[in-house]
């Protein structure tokens, strides 16, 4: 049960981290476009 929880938490962290990275990239590109 806790193993599963652990994997889920890691996956969530990966996803949130990825999202943050791409979001920042998005922001940067928007700035470059204008």
């Amino acid at each position: 049960m806790t193993d599963l929880m652990g994997i889920m938490v890691v996956t969530l962290m990966i996803w949130v981290g990825l999202f943050a990275y791409v979001y920042r990239l998005d922001r940067k590109v928007s700035r470059l476009e204008d």
């Binding site: 599963l4 929880m5 994997i7 889920m8 996956t11 969530l12 996803w15 949130v16 999202f19 791409v22 979001y23 990239l25 998005d26 590109v29 470059l32 476009e33």
Partner: protein
């Protein structure tokens, strides 16, 4: 302006959406029958990745055809960006698939038709990008890679539909048969569908960003000249 607000909101929706999918994949769904242990949960990520790898390929090919017709450099950008993304998702799909295979059938790789197909897709992407890397002139690069993308696309139906029929397959029939599959309970299908939608959204986002980056890069290059 309105459009920007909507797309901004959509990004946050995507964050929440996939986060919910991840949680649901682990706690909302019971492990499916016929799968060893919890391995059926990998499917929620593996299948969408494979789907995106194929979708990206489709986009690449369609934009390649469009490029050959209209010779708009933007179409070439779209084709190459999609190919890059497709490669990424193909690698992810292959890796998750190999992990799944190890759990289920004790071998990371056994060349069953689906694994063969994803490998060939990987090779196609790699070849496409290698070709692009080998041509300096931008217009020639665009048209030749467009031709290759179309050629590659034409061989895919054989891979996906004909090869598996000839060979006995270890692979559960989930890739073609995700809807209306009686083996899985409805929760499973819900989460799988939700994951598919989420991943598609992610792809679209990454795709638009990639295209914008390339456009900016090209514009910079023009300005320098």
């Amino acid at each position: 302006m309105k459009l920007m607000r909507v797309s901004e909101a959509l990004k946050w929706v995507l964050l929440v959406w996939l986060a919910v999918v991840i949680v649901a994949a682990f706690f909302y769904v019971r492990p499916a029958e016929g799968f060893i242990g919890e391995s059926s949960r990998i499917v929620f990520f593996h299948v969408p990745m494979a789907w995106i790898a194929v979708l990206a390929f489709l986009v690449s090919c369609i934009t390649s055809v469009m490029y050959l017709r209209r010779r708009d450099p933007k179409d070439d950008i779209r084709a190459s960006v999609s190919a890059g993304l497709g490669l990424l998702f193909a690698v992810l799909a292959t890796t998750t698939g190999a992990v799944f295979a190890r759990i289920m059938w004790n071998a990371y790789w056994n060349w069953d038709p689906r694994q063969t197909s994803i490998t060939i897709l990987l090779l196609i992407y790699a070849a496409y990008l290698a070709l692009r890397g080998a041509i300096d002139d931008p217009e020639r690069r665009a048209s030749l890679s467009a031709v290759y993308a179309i050629l590659a696309f034409v061989t895919v139906p054989f891979l996906v539909f004909v090869v598996p029929r000839i060979y006995w397959s270890l692979h559960p029939d989930t890739i073609i048969n995700t809807r209306g599959s009686n083996e899985f309970d409805s929760r499973y299908t819900q989460v799988l569908m939700a994951s598919l939608v989420g991943f598609t959204g992610l792809y679209v986002w990454l795709y638009t960003i990639g295209c914008r980056i390339e456009s900016v890069r090209q514009r910079r290059r023009q300005e320098v000249l």
